[in-house]
């Protein structure tokens, strides 16, 4: 593709009406989390901006993020891949394979140097020179460093590329880590989640594609429009939390009635994501709605914060911190009583000694 067409040109080529183009822009505006004030800017960008070249690479991961991505309903993932971006290289979605495929990657990197968007799924395996994750005969670290050098923007999809992912759980045998330290200081937009919500994935890449800038991000590099709120603060079960109505077990009346899952270890109060407002599969449901407490899959280190079904970690037979705390409290109180008795005994014997001396 020599001349890269814009979204509007792509619509024209396919014979779509101006009306359906504008409707598409309305959908995009709301998807990217903008107010309608931004609509004219979205239209302008969609008319003029050439479709961005995207290189999408996969590292140490399960490709679950792609499974999520291809189920995006608005915009349809196929629309994004086939008409909204120019996806030049993708480990999972490309039909090509082998040496020509790898050569195409090098060509793309050279041809669009400094212009392409790099999407990364999967963590870096840092241990033993990175041999635990190989891609095209090289370590994934090598591929990432090569592709990151000429990237205009880098998007880290999924908790693996953002924070290391489940394979980074203790003892982390492969030294799995987020990609941030391996991209030569370039800013990384983190789109964490295991997997991220499909519409969030498409929304972020569309933002970068249309405006050529990364979306507004928080201190951790996550787009504010999707990760600006806790699930707890957007959860439809929040009134049950405030009222003090909790499911105590997975099969009690509270669970059946759809009460708050806080006591079953729900991580909603610590998790930043759009599950509460966007939900999954075009707003059909999300984990809490289906009665499963949130496990905080878009949080750094969520994999080591087990058990997912309790508020506090358990220490075997000792129980949780509260049980241990009560035990230590009782022990301290007992120690204090013992010390008091011993102190009095010591004082009395000392005074007797002094008295004896006086008598002599």
């Amino acid at each position: 593709m020599e001349k890269r067409e814009s979204l509007w040109e792509a619509y024209l080529r396919r014979g779509f009406s101006r009306r359906s183009f504008l409707k598409g822009c309305v959908a995009l505006t709301s998807l990217m989390g903008f107010s309608t004030d931004m609509f004219s800017k979205v239209v302008e960008a969609a008319e003029n901006k050439p479709l961005p070249v995207v290189i999408w690479i996969h590292g140490h991961e399960c490709t679950g993020c792609d499974e999520s991505f291809i189920r995006s309903g608005a915009p349809l993932a196929s629309d994004v891949v086939l008409s909204s971006i120019a996806l030049e290289y993708d480990h999972l979605l490309s039909a090509a394979c082998g040496a020509p495929f790898e050569a195409h990657l090098d060509e793309t990197i050279a041809k669009y140097n400094g212009q392409y968007i790099l999407c990364v799924e999967g963590a870096i395996a840092t241990k033993d020179s990175g041999v635990y994750c190989m891609s095209g005969g090289h370590t994934f670290t090598h591929l990432l460093e090569k592709a990151a050098k000429g990237a205009a923007a880098i998007i880290a999809y999924g908790s693996c590329s953002a924070y290391g992912g489940i394979q980074a759980a203790k003892p982390n045998p492969t030294g799995s880590a987020g990609i941030e330290r391996f991209v030569g200081g370039k800013p990384v937009v983190k789109v964490p989640g295991c997997p991220p919500i499909p519409e969030v994935m498409t929304g972020v890449v569309m933002h970068v594609a249309l405006f050529g800038t990364i979306p507004p991000v928080d201190g951790d590099g996550r787009p504010k429009q999707f990760y600006g709120n806790r699930i707890h603060d957007t959860c439809y079960r929040r009134p049950f939390f405030d009222a003090g109505m909790f499911a105590e077990t997975f099969d009690d009346a509270g669970a059946k009635a759809g009460w708050c899952l806080y006591k079953l270890g729900c991580r909603g109060p610590e998790t930043y994501n759009s599950c509460g407002n966007l939900r999954w599969w075009q707003g059909m449901s999300y984990p809490i709605q289906s009665g499963a407490p949130c496990i905080g899959c878009s949080n750094s280190n969520f994999w080591d914060e087990d058990p997912f079904t309790a508020r506090l970690p358990q220490y075997g037979k000792l129980g949780d911190a509260d049980k241990i705390g009560v035990g230590l409290g009782v022990l301290t109180a007992a120690g204090v009583v013992g010390h008091a008795v011993a102190s009095i005994v010591q004082r009395n014997s000392r005074e007797n000694l002094i008295d004896d001396e006086h008598h002599d």
């Binding site: 806790r230 405030d242 003090g244 610590e270 969520f302 508020r311 970690p313 241990i324 010390h339 102190s343």
Partner: protein
Amino acid sequence: MAIKSVKEVKRKEFYIFSPFLRIFHWIMASQIVILFATGLLITKPMNVAITEPVFSITSMDLVRDIHFTSAFILCASLILRIYGFIINKGDRLFPRVWEGHFYEETVDVALHYMLIRPHHASFLRNPLARGSYAALYVLLAIEILTGFAMYFMTNPSSTGGMLFGWVNVLVGSEMMSHYIHHYVAWFIILFAIGHLYMVIRAEFMEGESEISSMFSGKKILAHNPKDANELD
């Protein structure tokens, strides 16, 4: 004839604690009790036996509001502590770790408390107590930092979120802030048990107005304390 239970003893009065420190102390003590009780209830809330949220007297919400109000009162009262710290030398009884004798004296006091030595030298505040209060302030600081880090992140781009959000990043995740907040609360309670015992013990064994000093600001000592120079 002298009454047997009346003895004439020569004692010296030392004015140590400013009223600001004393007021702060009692605010802190009361708020720690409230914060600990409500904190436990927030981790493991009671289940109200109702069928509709509208019938609730907003139990969890109420408990959390009490916790937050109490936390703000405690933080506000720190202003008293800081003011007293500035104007009064007796409010500044640091563990003087930079002075060599601190360590010998610590060992001396520790041996006494282990009942190996019959007594220790007289202090306005002994080095072990100094160390333990310094540790308490560290624990308090951790509670305040992790507490606000959780509280303000309702809106991460708010001023409070900006001021305290880094704590969650530093400890690894927001859940970790919850854990640390909860665990440190237990350590503060263990400190409180020990503290309560030690002041009662001091009163009981020495009778040197250890408890009343936190009301009157004065200690009435029979011996000349080694650290009396710190009040000049």
